[in-house]
Assembly symmetry: C2
Homo-oligomer: 247 residues x 2
């Protein structure tokens, strides 16, 4: 791993610097609440202008890895604040972060023609949209059922995704990105409490009437169009949701 900045590198200098600084924090070379070199010192150390320094440090600050105090310096955040907790992750990524092996059992996969009107509203699609792609899956962690997931997708006209493709790639997000070149930017999510009906109880292997955590997400692309509506019913006893909020 490099510890100097190469002006001719493909990656921008502020990004190279960001990586260098983050590594030092991750490795514990700079301890929590300890001051990192000042911006003027970093200018000399890495031979880049202060603007570039500030771009890198500003990003670290927004990511919660460091905090800046006017007139005093820039300091490493305590470890708890160093984990990004508002990141948009797929179910698979989420499970991996929790140290569980993600899995799925596909219950149904098909195009809905015509689509349910409320889904068109969520996705901000015109009422004459011919079809919506729908997948229903039981999602597992270490082979235990964790959630019941239903996804609704606005695929380009005439396109579809097969069960074989989904089973092979595992994640819808991967298919969206690699096959349709759709990059996800953000999601709006709501969480509420509900009770398992007989079908949900059977699929999630819990008693009927058990409390569940219901998550509903609308996913947005890079050009800020809605692409997917996802509903996940999580087992209340096996799932805990975490976020970081900022002022």
């Amino acid at each position: 791993m490099s510890t100097t900045i190469d002006p001719n590198h493909i990656l921008p200098r502020y990004y190279q610097l960001l990586t260098i600084l983050r590594d030092k924090i991750d490795k514990g070379e700079w301890q929590p609440h300890q001051a990192i070199p000042s911006e003027r010192q970093l200018e000399v150390l890495y031979s880049v202008s202060r603007t570039t320094i500030r771009q890198a440090v500003g990003m670290l600050s927004r990511q919660g890895l460091v905090y800046q105090q006017h007139g005093k310096g820039t300091f490493v955040s305590p470890r708890k604040l160093q984990k990004g907790l508002v990141e948009l992750t797929s179910f698979s990524e989420d499970m991996q972060q929790r140290g569980l092996i993600p899995g799925q059992r596909i219950l149904e996969i098909r195009n809905m023609e015509p689509p349910p009107p409320e889904i068109l509203v969520y996705l901000e699609l015109p009422p004459d949209t011919p079809s919506i792609f729908r997948v229903e899956r039981v999602r597992t962690g270490d082979d235990q059922p964790i959630g019941l997931q239903t996804s609704f997708l606005a695929l380009p006209a005439g396109q579809t995704i097969t069960q074989a493709e989904l089973e092979q790639r595992g994640s819808l997000y991967t298919i969206l990105q690699e096959r349709f070149n759709i990059n996800l930017h953000s999601a709006d999510e709501t969480l509420e409490v509900t009770i398992a009906n007989p079908r949900e109880a059977q699929l999630l292997e819990v008693p009927e009437g058990s409390p569940l955590l219901l998550s509903e997400r609308v996913l947005w692309t890079n050009d800020h169009r809605a692409v997917e509506f996802v509903r996940i019913l999580y087992r209340g006893d096996r799932y805990r949701y975490t976020v970081r909020l900022t002022r």
Copy 2:
């Protein structure tokens, strides 16, 4: 409201510009997916340098009000993306945003001596911390019970908060800021599902065994020290949690 930038104003120029641009978007002067003036045009329009323009527009972009596309321009986000959904809010602010009048019924307010060990762990305080301030309240919206809130605070030595003060100001956050000069920066929150025990059921006016949404928060100050641990049990039928996640 001003539409020009005053170089001698107390507020920085990028912030004045940010306000001007946000107003135009809020008022609908620039419509969703419409391009706003280019950075070079804004330079001329407002007589500030491109760096300053980029600082303002970059903040609007991070707040989700606009999105930037390399080589194309900067565009207004669709309205749904214009609401900041990861903002740290107090219960009172939260209710107001939902159009409900916040209220509270204080159940207990006291210093715990000695403090419960698990709270010290959450707040990263030394084991010999003499006392922790605790408030338990039923929180209401339009006079209906919404949540049962328990707050644990590390107040400066010898300080306390009286019931009268809390009733008068309404919000702990206000007291923290105005009396102790403690500014909140961020919070880590976990959400999970639980079931009402007899006491909780009675206070929240729901049947015993009703599903509840349990939120637990650790609040961090500007210099990234933990100040408060808050637990809120929300009525499952009256509360829905929303967040925005980004990639």
